[in-house]
């Protein structure tokens, strides 16, 4: 994992950034460091401020307060042209009347390069984005995915120190999106260019980024690797926004126990005082069905609980099941593998035992609890 320290100073350093649009605060006290070569993703629902933050870094919509440093240079009040980045937008923003070659060459002109050198660089870039034959066409003749690759080639043509991607895949078909996801990630790794991408698609963020910055209401909720964010969300918002999460009412007991309905479970250690109302969370895929062959009786130490299947939905590679349990006074969603369903002959109405692993059961403050 790339971390910044004294030896390896941050490439991009954002310090106490605020952005006000009239009376509305779009960014609130954002501080963040990005290491050189890192791929960072700003992830959050629409209106969370992620695009505002990207545009502040680009100098397109300057922040109201706070500073931004890039390569130890204060760029806080530099106009876009004096900063060092390439940018790709959701709309591609290719110049429609210029050929693909001229689009890619656009930033290379007026920089003192010879014609032949520019040509060679354009060839190299078209090769890099895997479109070597398309140079003489016009943008409208290419597919969306191809256009976005050209936009990428144009953005990296001048070898900028920072690559900014503003929802680059959102305008594309689902299938193209997945393949372009890999291409961009691979290209970024090959070039080693520090990259910041904005997306509202968590799958995109999880699969591409070295680190994810989850944002909500203009604040950073959590910064971490995709695995950290997914496995160990800091806040209920992150838990809920990334992936799917069961949330059930519970009451804290001892430092690592919680009572849900009538049943008491071990959980991750928490800081709640006994009898405090909490929300217990567990991901659907972490709920383990217990097969009768191996364990005939419910054992509390096993974290098991008796449930029956209230509803089942076939999702191709697995089943999503609603598990009802009077003892939990609620229901949980669980992802059951095809194998387990077949082996255990599960169907709507089946009774079974499931286990809630203690290290996957995490407590959060209950926002609706009256204190």
């Amino acid at each position: 994992m790339l971390r910044t320290d004294d030896e390896n100073p941050a490439f991009l350093k954002i310090n106490a950034l605020w952005k006000a649009f009239g009376d509305f605060l779009a960014l609130k006290d954002i501080s963040l460091e990005v290491a050189e070569g890192e791929f960072v993703c700003f992830l959050g629902p629409s209106g969370c401020g992620k695009t505002t933050l990207l545009r502040a870094i680009a100098g397109l919509d300057p922040q109201t307060r706070g500073t931004i440093e890039q390569s130890s240079r204060d760029i806080s009040n530099l106009p876009p042209a004096q900063r060092d980045y390439g940018i790709v937008f959701q709309s591609y923003a290719l110049f429609p009347n210029l050929s693909i070659r001229r689009n890619v060459a656009y930033g290379l002109e007026n920089a003192g390069h010879s014609r032949s050198k520019i040509d060679a660089r354009v060839d190299e870039l078209l090769q890099l984005v895997d479109l070597p034959e398309q140079g003489n066409k016009y943008p409208a003749q290419l597919s969306g995915g191809q256009q976005q690759r050209i936009a990428l080639a144009r953005a990296i043509a001048t070898k900028p120190g920072l690559l900014l991607l503003d929802e680059p895949l959102s305008a594309l078909d689902a299938r193209v999106r997945v393949s372009l996801r890999h291409q961009i990630k691979e290209l970024q790794r090959k070039l080693g260019v520090t990259t910041v991408m904005v997306t509202h698609d968590q799958e995109e963020g999880l699969s591409m980024a070295d680190r994810i910055v989850v944002m909500n209401h203009g604040r950073i909720e959590q910064v971490g690797t995709p695995i950290q964010i997914y496995r160990d969300p800091d806040t209920l918002f992150v838990a809920d926004f990334i992936g799917e999460m069961n949330q059930v009412q519970g009451v804290a007991e001892t430092a690592d126990r919680v009572r849900i309905g009538e049943v008491s479970f071990n959980c991750q250690s928490h800081g709640f005082s006994p009898d405090e109302k909490v929300l217990a969370t567990v991901r659907p895929e972490d709920i383990v069905p217990i097969e009768r062959d191996h364990s005939d009786q419910a054992d509390p130490a096993d974290q098991g609980v008796e449930v029956h299947i209230g509803d089942m939905e076939f999702l191709g590679s697995y089943w999503k099941a609603r598990l009802d349990s009077p003892r939990l006074s609620g229901s949980l969603n669980a992802n059951l593998s095809m194998n387990a369903v077949r082996r255990m002959e599960l169907s709507v109405g089946s009774h079974l035992q499931v286990r809630l692993p203690s290290d996957r059961l995490k407590l959060f403050a209950n926002p609706s609890a009256v204190t």
Binding site: L60, N77, Q82, F89, S91, N97, Q141
Partner: protein
């Protein structure tokens, strides 16, 4: 206070250092704002202040002393007011002067002789009093001692005061006030007729499967290519005292409301038709399918879907037509007869009576309905745009034999009306002596033998149109680009947008008169422009600025806003993007702006009628002047020359557009 104050830490707002591009773009916006100030705001201000300036001789302001024959002054101070009361030098009416009023001081002294050794002293009671010594302006309460030969050259000037006296006088003159009623009446009736006819025409084009739709569309646009006074001339030929169809009038005169209304319908028809066609074209076919599946009758469908869907277009068309008619000057001038309207009153006051203050007052009166109509139209158009953005399915008419035939008949009648008006003008221009000698001749084209400027006027018009199209397009498009694509600089951009919308609300007559007040002022450093081709170009570009600006803005808005961001991130100067991408992509719109300016510069009369000089006479004004002088057939001939020139310009424009599209916009066709 808001939560902003409590949450946001104190400190200065981060402001970006401005690059050279930013400075250039801001500078350019400032320049165009300055242009619009000089070409629009300041002249209008000059006109408004003129309308509330009144002039009156105030004799209590002036005092005299008279010496004896040895040159000794006794010290007795005589007031001009008292002197006048004593000797009755000037009547009350003579004291009620205009801005140019001058009273000789010697008239107060009946025994004055310029050879006498008597000396005079003269002064004003305060600094507002002005008198002239020859051409030298004097003011103030210190005595000026003069011998009698010098005293002979003393002239008293009126005091200027600000007030509504001019308006009071206007509203107490029944013949002038009658014009307000006349103008509103004509505009209202013409609006109702035009919108009704244009709606049916547009409906036939949009909703029927009749043949020759393209031809009808072309013919309907023809009136845009001629000056508004041309239909007046045609109507005179048809229904005038020696008209072919005089019997139709049943004793009524075509000179007056009938003629103005008929001509107004002719020249406003294309404007209304265009707006209503657009409104009908955006209606959603799915609504009609739903109505059909619910077995709604055609009649009910029309009233519940078609009319509500086109309502903004209809309202907008109505206000545009109203505005065009009430501000038009050429047509009522030609065919109005004794029927006075506001726009002609301005002309009569200024050109006929040289009463500039009263001209300014009528202008202000005319501004009110024009501004109102403009304002309402803007609001309505904004709503129409909101309708447009909704996704809709294009309506495809299905053929119905009876309905299609009926539409064809109706459109043919309208086409005959339009072509008839043009045809009669052309015919009258080609015959020897209407209606007695109908043999063909070109003698009406010997413009050099008539008043009005001759063929030189025609050449001047083409020069004006060319220059207006060129400079206007450059200024308008560049200005629109800067204001659309500049970051920040909100104050400057808002001011620009306001000034760019203003010309549409200003009637041409008002603009032209405002130019006289502003540019003809000898103290104005821009005075040298007066009487040149440059001021005509300036005035015409400004007069037609708004529509051109809106065309440019619409085209620019369709371009991706991130082009500028990409350009900056690639460290390229803004003018590279402008020249390499923005201009080529917007070329169709740019050509549209230039043809719009060309055609309007060829046909406009209202603003330039005050501004042309003998060396810059214009074809459209020549039509007016020749008609005024009784050379009606040559006027018709010149009007048709304008028509053919505009047709040629349109053909060139169409060819250019096609060629340019094919060459530079290859990307569109793939």
């Amino acid at each position: 206070m808001s939560k902003l104050a409590t949450e946001l830490p104190a400190g200065p707002r981060v402001r970006l250092v401005l690059g050279s591009d930013d400075w250039f773009m801001r500078g350019f916006i400032a320049l165009i704002v300055l242009y619009l100030f000089v070409a629009l705001a300041l002249p209008l201000y000059a006109m408004l202040s003129k309308s509330i300036s009144t002039f009156r001789m105030d004799l209590t302001q002036f005092q005299f002393q008279v010496s004896d024959e040895t040159g000794f002054f006794s010290g007795d101070i005589l007031s001009a007011d008292e002197l006048n009361a004593a000797v009755g030098a000037y009547s009350e009416q003579e004291l009620n002067v205009g801005s140019g009023g001058r009273l000789s001081a010697t008239a107060f002294f009946p025994d004055f002789s310029f050879r006498s050794p008597v000396k005079y002293r003269v002064r004003g009671v305060d600094d507002s009093a002005v008198f002239l010594l020859g051409s030298e302006r004097r003011t103030g309460p210190s005595w000026v001692e003069l011998d009698s030969n010098q005293f002979r050259r003393v002239v008293l000037r009126p005091v200027t005061s600000v007030g509504l006296d001019n308006f009071k006088r206007y509203f107490s003159t029944p013949s002038l006030v009658q014009s307000i009623k006349n103008s509103l009446f004509i505009a209202a009736i013409s609006t109702v007729i035009t919108v009704l006819l244009a709606f049916c025409f547009a409906y036939a084009l949009n909703r029927s499967c009749m043949r020759f739709k393209g031809v009808f569309r072309l013919i309907a646009m023809a009136p845009i290519l001629v000056p508004s006074l041309l239909p007046g001339i045609a109507l005179v030929y048809l229904f005038g005292n020696q008209g072919l169809l005089k019997a139709v009038m049943a004793g009524e005169s075509i000179y007056g409301p009938y003629g103005i209304i008929a001509g107004s319908v002719f020249f406003t028809f294309p404007h209304a038709m265009l707006i209503i066609t657009t409104a009908l074209a955006i209606s959603d076919a799915r609504l009609y399918e739903a109505a059909l599946s619910l077995r709604t009758s055609r009649w009910k469908t029309f009233w519940t879907i078609t009319i509500p869907g086109a309502r903004y277009g209809l309202i907008s068309a109505a206000f545009v037509v109203f505005n065009l008619v009430i501000t038009d000057f050429g047509l009522p001038k030609v065919i109005g007869g004794q029927y006075n309207v506001l726009a002609v009153d301005i002309y009569k006051q200024v050109i006929g009576q040289q009463n500039f203050e009263m001209g300014a007052v009528v202008s202000v009166v005319l501004l009110i309905p024009a501004m109102l109509a403009f304002g309402i139209d803007r609001i309505v158009q904004r709503r129409q745009v909101a309708l447009l953005s909704a996704r809709s399915v294009v309506y495809q008419p299905s053929s119905s034999r009876i309905f299609d035939r009926f539409c064809l008949l109706y459109c043919s009648l309208i086409a005959i009306f339009i072509l008839g008006i043009l045809g009669i003008c052309q015919f009258a221009a080609l015959v020897k002596f209407w209606p007695y000698d109908l043999s063909l001749s070109l003698r009406n084209y010997a413009f050099n033998r008539m008043d009005g400027g001759g063929w030189a006027a025609y050449r001047n018009s083409i020069e004006l149109a060319g220059l207006t199209a060129f400079f206007g397009t450059v200024i308008v498009f560049t200005g629109a680009y800067m204001v659309e694509k500049t970051q920040g600089f909100k104050g400057g951009r808002t001011l620009f947008q306001f000034l760019a919308m203003l010309p549409m609300a200003i009637p041409g007559m008002v603009l032209g008169l405002a130019y006289i007040f502003f540019f003809n002022d000898p103290d104005n450093p821009l005075n040298f422009l007066y009487g040149t081709m440059a001021i005509l170009v300036l005035c015409t570009v400004t007069h037609f600025y708004t529509v051109s600006h809106l065309t440019a803005v619409t085209a620019l808005k369709q371009m991706d806003n991130e082009f500028e961001s990409v350009n900056a991130s690639l460290k390229q100067p803004f003018y590279k993007l402008f020249a390499r991408v923005s201009v080529p992509v917007c070329l169709p719109a740019i050509l549209d702006i230039s043809i719009y300016l060309f055609v309007n510069a060829m046909t406009t009369v209202s603003a330039v009628v005050f501004l042309y000089s003998t060396s810059t006479a214009l074809a459209s004004v020549a039509v007016l002047n020749m008609d005024d002088a009784g050379d009606v057939a040559p006027a018709a001939a010149m009007g048709m020359m304008i028509f053919y020139t505009n047709v040629a310009a349109r053909i060139v424009h169409a060819g250019l557009s096609r060629g340019v599209l094919r060459r530079t916009q290859v990307w569109r066709h793939h």
